[in-house]
């Protein structure tokens, strides 16, 4: 027993003096737990995880307005009828039209748009699947959740906010398939509908127009097989793609491993410090700036090769459409490699030992990979978190790859991502150069 205690004591003493192990053992799990809790643990709270939806009402009937109003009251949806007003803009912004809504989805502003067609009010739903007017959902299926969520909410809203239309439609179906209602049944039904309409109006006025406050209810379309509301979902971006999500995962995994590779390879500076070659190099004609630029070039080449291997593998095995996106791929891969390489140099110049570098780089790389969107898409995050995750440079890289392979945006529209990544790279390089001063003559 005392030998076990002796071994335990030695292990605890080792742990006490090993800050890296302490970080990996206690801080990293807590940091990760916090990130996942922030992303997935707050969906029941007010104001978080709303799905932005652009809505276009081409019908402008009383039913369509009521339907839209009920959708807007849903706490899980952020229904937008018009673009946000720019600062200082006085006139009311123009309402979205089908074309501008499609443009917004294609441009990545939202993942879904709802088009309520003309004639919706006349036949908003169908129990039989034939007579209802079909809604159109324009979707970007790189976010597979938003279209599903919207579809469910459409069914739910129809049931909870438009019972009158539902009974009317149900009665018509009954009349058609059950051999017709008697005149007495029809009269009673009309009276019942009038009473329901009156109650609805009264309730609506009392609740300030809120038709639904049950934010926890999920889509109920499943109860009606195809759903009460007939919805055509149009996948704007992924229709012609054989493996639509492969590019997303190739970029996500690729960027995360570029971060790991850059921080690991940047550590050669610390190896050189330990072996004495750094001293010898700096006593030659090589200056610290030259040395860092040489290391940067090496790291960029390493990262770029890593990305090429990853995407070529994706193209050969998973039918990723690399060959038609080569220019965009290279632009994003080079910019990403520059940013990740500079990040690697910062870590290497900030740490004093390999062990320290291993701990800190793992901690930081895993955190920024999680928050930046390498592990799960950023659209799963609350809106606020999606915004501030842009302070992590890898989120720009992932957005860029998404724009190239998924949205197929022209190269000229990659400038925000390219600019951000080059800016980060320059900033990191300047910081790394400052930190490297400790290696210059003391």
């Amino acid at each position: 027993m005392r030998y076990i205690l002796a071994i335990l004591r030695t292990a605890l003493l080792n742990l006490k003096h090993d800050k890296g192990a302490m970080i990996m053992s206690f801080i990293l799990p807590v940091a990760f737990f916090s990130i996942f809790a922030l992303i997935f643990g707050r969906s029941d709270r007010e104001g978080t995880a709303k799905i932005p939806v652009i809505a276009v009402d081409e019908d402008r009937s009383e039913s369509s307005q009521r339907f839209l109003k009920a959708l807007q009251a849903e706490t899980s949806l952020d229904v937008r009828l018009a673009p946000e007003k720019a600062d200082g803009e006085k006139s009311a912004p123009t309402l979205y039209r089908a074309a501008t809504a499609e443009e917004a989805v294609r441009g990545g502003k939202v993942s879904v748009a709802l088009i309520i067609p003309q004639g919706f009010g006349a036949a908003p739903m169908s129990f039989t699947g034939g007579s209802g007017k079909r809604l159109t959902v324009l979707a970007d299926k790189s976010d597979p959740i938003a279209p599903q969520m919207l579809n469910g909410m459409l069914q739910k809203t129809m049931m909870t906010a438009m019972p009158e239309d539902m009974i009317q439609s149900g009665g018509a179906a009954m009349d058609k398939f059950a051999g017709g209602l008697t005149p007495q049944q029809k009269t009673m039904m009309s009276q019942g509908l009038a009473a329901l309409h009156a109650r609805q109006n009264a309730a609506s006025n009392a609740a300030g127009g809120s038709a639904s406050t049950d934010s926890s209810a999920n889509g109920s379309g499943g109860a009606f097989a195809g759903g009460l509301v007939q919805v055509d979902t149009k996948d704007l971006l992924g229709e012609k793609k054989t493996s639509p999500m492969i590019a997303f995962y190739a970029a996500g995994v690729g960027v995360m491993f570029m971060l790991f590779t850059a921080s690991g390879a940047g550590g050669t500076l610390l190896d050189e410090q330990d072996s004495g070659t750094l001293d010898r190099v700096l006593s030659s004609k090589v200056t610290m700036t030259t040395l860092l630029l040489g290391k940067l070039t090496y790291l960029v080449m390493l990262g770029l090769t890593q990305m090429i291997v990853m995407f070529v593998w994706g193209a050969l095995v998973f039918h990723l459409d690399l060959w038609t996106h080569l220019p965009g791929f290279f632009i994003m891969a080079i910019c990403t490699a520059l940013a990740t390489s500079s990040y690697g140099l910062i870590l290497a110049t900030a740490c004093h030992t390999r062990a320290q570098l291993a701990s800190f780089s793992t901690l930081i790389t895993l955190i920024i990979s999680a928050v930046g969107g390498s592990m799960f898409p950023r659209f799963l995050m609350p809106a606020e978190m999606q915004k501030w995750s842009l302070v992590f440079f890898n989120s720009w890289a992932l957005d860029g790859f998404r724009n190239v392979f998924w949205r197929e945006l022209p190269l000229s529209q990659l400038w925000p991502q390219v600019g951000a990544l080059l800016g980060f790279a320059l900033l990191f390089l300047v910081i790394a150069r400052q930190l490297a001063r400790r290696w210059e003559s003391a």
Partner: protein, 314 residues
């Protein structure tokens, strides 16, 4: 010591009053030393005396807080410091590269390219006797081979002044002999060397002059003979091993000039022929038998002990 070479009177290294502090620790406390063209200067001192800091100051890796440094007759700047060769104490080589690639890398860092680089690599491999292992990974080499490669990397650009910091530390006697041959070759070429070592026999073998450094100061400087004469005079150490413990009354009679430890008696004598006779008579009168007797002229180690109060490896 080799006196057959001609040593110029022109200084290639002149350090005056170099001072370096790390917080409250005084690493260099006004060090002054000079190296002539073609000369080998031994730098001796116990651990922590400031030898490595001094060498790093000369090569530009440490910036002294005060003092003046001239190299090749002009105030030292980056350009002059880059002309120096430096063999650091650490094995400053790339362990995952081959011997040839190591020399190629350090040659390029020194600005060599093309035919000049190839010639330098070939010369370095030959000098270090590593031609047969040129394509082998340096990390797989023996300690002695790594040391030789470390030396070759330090002089790849054919510097006229080389700073060597413990170039033979941790190698076996055979490898050390090999390294001695390499240093002899440099000396033959007239290269000036500052040679830091823990091994007094190396200092005695190679160095034209010796500087003893302790607590960040040069406390003695000169040829071996000058140092011995200056600090120990012509004294000879007499060591007598007796058949039994040396009686206390003999130790008392000899006083401070003698040290007694069990059956071992050591005495420092100015006139050994006279003193040996007296000692033997004294022991015979006390009934103490003598098993062994040795005479030793004062060495550099004695000077070092005398000056620092410590052994060189302490």
């Amino acid at each position: 010591m080799v006196g057959s070479r001609s040593v110029s009177t022109q200084w290639v290294v002149e350090a005056v009053g170099l001072r370096k502090l790390y917080g409250s620790l005084v690493a260099l406390d006004g060090v002054s030393l000079q190296l002539r063209e073609g000369e080998i200067l031994g730098l001796l001192g116990p651990n922590g005396a400031g030898k490595t800091t001094l060498v790093r100051s000369l090569v530009g890796r440490v910036k002294p807080d005060a003092g003046e440094l001239k190299l090749f007759g002009v105030e030292a700047g980056e350009r002059e410091q880059q002309r120096l060769g430096w063999v650091p104490q650490e094995l400053a080589i790339y362990p995952k590269l081959t011997a040839r690639d190591n020399l190629s890398a350090f040659g390029r860092y020194q600005g060599l390219q093309g035919a000049a680089l190839e010639a330098a690599i070939a010369r370095g491999l030959q000098w270090a006797s590593l031609q047969d292992r040129a394509g082998d990974i340096a990390g797989t080499f023996s300690g002695g081979m790594k040391r030789r490669l470390n030396l070759a990397a330090g002089v790849i650009h054919q510097p006229r002044v080389v700073l060597m910091d413990e170039p033979t530390v941790g190698v076996d006697p055979q490898s050390r002999d090999h390294i001695f041959t390499m240093i002899e070759a440099l000396r033959t070429e007239g290269v000036s060397i500052i040679y830091t070592t823990h091994y007094l026999e190396e200092a005695e073998r190679f160095c034209d002059r010796i500087a003893v450094i302790d607590h960040g100061k040069v406390i003695a400087e000169g040829t071996k003979d000058e140092l011995v004469r200056r600090y120990l005079g012509a004294m000879t150490r007499i060591t007598i091993t007796c058949g039994e413990d040396v009686p206390a009354q003999i130790a008392e009679r000899l006083g401070a000039s003698a040290s007694v430890s069990g059956n071992l008696l050591q005495v420092t004598a100015v006139d050994p022929a006279h003193d040996v006779g007296n000692l033997l008579t004294m022991l015979r009168d006390a009934g103490v038998g003598v098993r062994d007797l040795a005479l030793k002229a004062p060495s550099l180690e004695d000077v070092f002990l005398h000056l620092t109060g410590r052994g060189l490896r302490e």
